[in-house]
């Protein structure tokens, strides 16, 4: 089942004509003949959920902004991905940038935004260059700019390059950084669809989410909603890394099990030679640890014991050093904490300190007691969800592998 990765071999990302020949921009042509609200309801009926982690239904989000009357509205494509283990949006931008642009244009039309941004990770120089060329070509063909396809619709798209901050993947922090403020989250509500960039209704959608939109419009919500489970339909790009034989990106319907992804020869193909499965981390550095016995869990958006986040699966084998991984997680979050709230700023730092001592086998009894306090504080008192994320993998590791971590 291919939606996002379809035609990747046939398309030259630097030539818009190859995208058009494979049916590109047909969805946009279809959309501008319909009313914006009809487009919103089509996306809503498709059941598409955001692909960056939270899994909020895209159509519902669009509907909030679409129904508000405002002199200005914005739509932003979130291509800031900086979760360790996740690089799917980079690959989409490199392989088929027009798919993202078309989805963004359809979104802009649906909510009534005249200005759109592609917020791209500051490290992504090559994909930013590809997107820039793609935008120029789309402008020449009159898909972007004033009077799209001869209609009276105007949508301008700008590329906005970030400057290296994990927190800017959070929609309010992202909006703040476009406004020239520190990338810190804002108090919600109001949520961005009501009051976002410069106080105007703003939709922030992940690049993979937008890449699904042209397909839904072309084939219809009914076709899309039948792929995978009804509450969380569609396909998802998963990224296999770690001790698995075939690493890389795999597009599968949601509702596939981790077991299938890791061991099926079509995807992961099992463990690397001589390695034995220990656990898998689902969803990047902020993801939970899935033991062997839970591999049959369905990978879906919505209520689930193991949230899939942005789709990364790190397979860990029994030879791996858990202390290195604990340090890896703590190191990442202490570096990326934005510093706005004390529990996260202090908590991630103290956890990192402890991780260092643990790695050097220099842990005191007192530190061991502190770990639980810190993890509780991070899980319960931080300002934004990213602080909670910092405790997820640690909490699982402490409860599952206390012997390996602390000794007998």
């Amino acid at each position: 089942m291919e939606i996002v990765t379809k035609n990747w071999e046939k398309i030259n990302p630097l030539d818009i004509n190859t995208y058009i020949r494979s049916g590109g921009y047909e969805a946009l042509r279809k959309v501008i003949r319909e009313t914006p609200l009809k487009v919103v309801s089509e996306i809503k009926r498709s059941g598409l959920r955001g692909r960056s982690g939270a899994g909020f239904p895209t159509g519902e989000k669009w509907e909030i902004s679409a129904k508000i009357v405002a002199d200005q509205k914005f739509i932003i494509c979130n291509l800031d991905e900086s979760e360790p283990g996740v690089y799917k949006d980079r690959i989409i931008a490199e392989k088929n940038p027009h798919q993202i642009i078309e989805g963004l244009l359809i979104g802009a039309y649906a909510i009534g935004a005249k200005r759109a941004f592609i917020y791209i990770n500051g490290h992504y120089k090559k994909p930013a260059e590809i997107l820039k060329i793609a935008l120029e070509q789309a402008r020449e063909k009159e898909f972007v700019g004033r009077g799209i396809m001869g209609s009276s619709i105007d949508v301008e798209i700008e590329i906005f390059s970030g400057a290296g901050a994990y927190i800017c993947g959070e929609e309010n922090a992202l909006i703040n950084s476009i406004e020239g403020k520190r990338g810190e989250p804002r108090l919600k509500p109001p949520h961005p669809p009501v009051s976002g960039l410069f106080g105007k209704p703003t939709i922030v959608n992940n690049a993979e989410t937008l890449a699904n939109v042209p397909y839904i419009i072309k084939r219809g919500a009914d076709v899309y909603s039948k792929i995978g489970p009804s509450l969380s339909p569609g396909t998802k790009l998963f990224l296999l890394e770690g001790a698995v034989k075939n690493k890389g990106i795999f597009e599968v319907p949601l509702g596939t099990t981790a077991e299938d992804l890791i061991f099926n020869s079509l995807y992961g193909g099992g463990m690397e030679d001589g390695k034995e499965f220990w656990f898998a981390q689902i969803g990047g550095a902020s993801g939970r640890l899935m033991p062997r016995g839970k591999l049959d869990q369905l990978l879906i958006y919505g209520p689930s014991e193991y949230p899939i986040g942005a789709g990364s699966i790190l397979v860990v084998d029994k030879m791996a050093d858990i202390k290195d991984l604990l340090f890896s997680w703590a190191d990442f979050f202490h570096r990326e904490s934005c510093g706005k709230c004390v529990p996260c700023r202090e908590g991630t730092y103290r956890l990192w300190e402890i991780a260092k001592w643990l790695k050097n086998n220099d842990l005191k009894e007192r530190d061991r007691e502190n770990i639980e306090d810190i993890l509780w504080t991070l899980s319960n008192t931080t300002f934004c969800p990213l602080g909670n994320f910092a405790a997820v993998a640690w909490s699982d590791a402490i409860s599952m592998f206390s012997e390996e971590i602390f000794g007998k």
Binding site: S82, Y87, A163, A165, R182, E241, G248, S328, D331, E336
Partner: protein, 146 residues
């Protein structure tokens, strides 16, 4: 290029503030307090607002960078591909310690994911990115580039 010339390329709109600072950082290698003052004046913003933005992000410096900075990714996928062995190798080769700033010419740090997990382990020396680094070959890279 002088700061004035950079400023003239951008309208003083808020969405250009980060772009201006990134451009200054690109040309001057860091953003000084006096640069911030000029930017603040151009955008009619308080100095604190501009400096707080300049000091927030990884990709901008508010002080001159006088050392070579070696960064090794400590993300999960790179960790599984032995990035900590690479760090130990560099520590032994240069007789430095990760995170410690005592060497006069080089500093070794960990860094956050660059989204190149399929090409890992990833290392950077200043702006230059190195992919698929191995503990066995890292010595050659370091000695070549320092």
């Amino acid at each position: 290029m002088s700061i004035q010339k950079i400023l003239l390329e951008f309208e003083p709109k808020l969405e250009n503030l980060l772009r201006v600072l990134k451009e200054i950082n690109k040309q001057e290698k860091y953003i000084s307090e006096s640069d911030c003052l000029k930017v603040a004046g151009y955008f009619s913003l308080p100095l604190a607002r501009v400096f707080s933005l300049a000091s927030f992000f990884d990709l901008m410096n508010t002080r001159p960078v006088k050392k070579k900075i070696i960064r090794v990714c400590s993300g999960g996928p790179c960790t599984m591909k032995r990035s900590f062995e690479i760090i130990r190798q560099i520590e032994m080769l240069l007789k430095i310690e990760m995170g410690n700033d005592s060497h006069p010419k080089v500093k070794l740090e960990t860094m956050s994911c660059l989204g190149l997990c399929d090409q890992g382990p990833v290392m950077m020396i200043d702006e230059q990115v190195f992919e698929k680094v191995r503990p066995e070959t890292v010595d050659d890279i370091i000695l070549d580039y320092l």
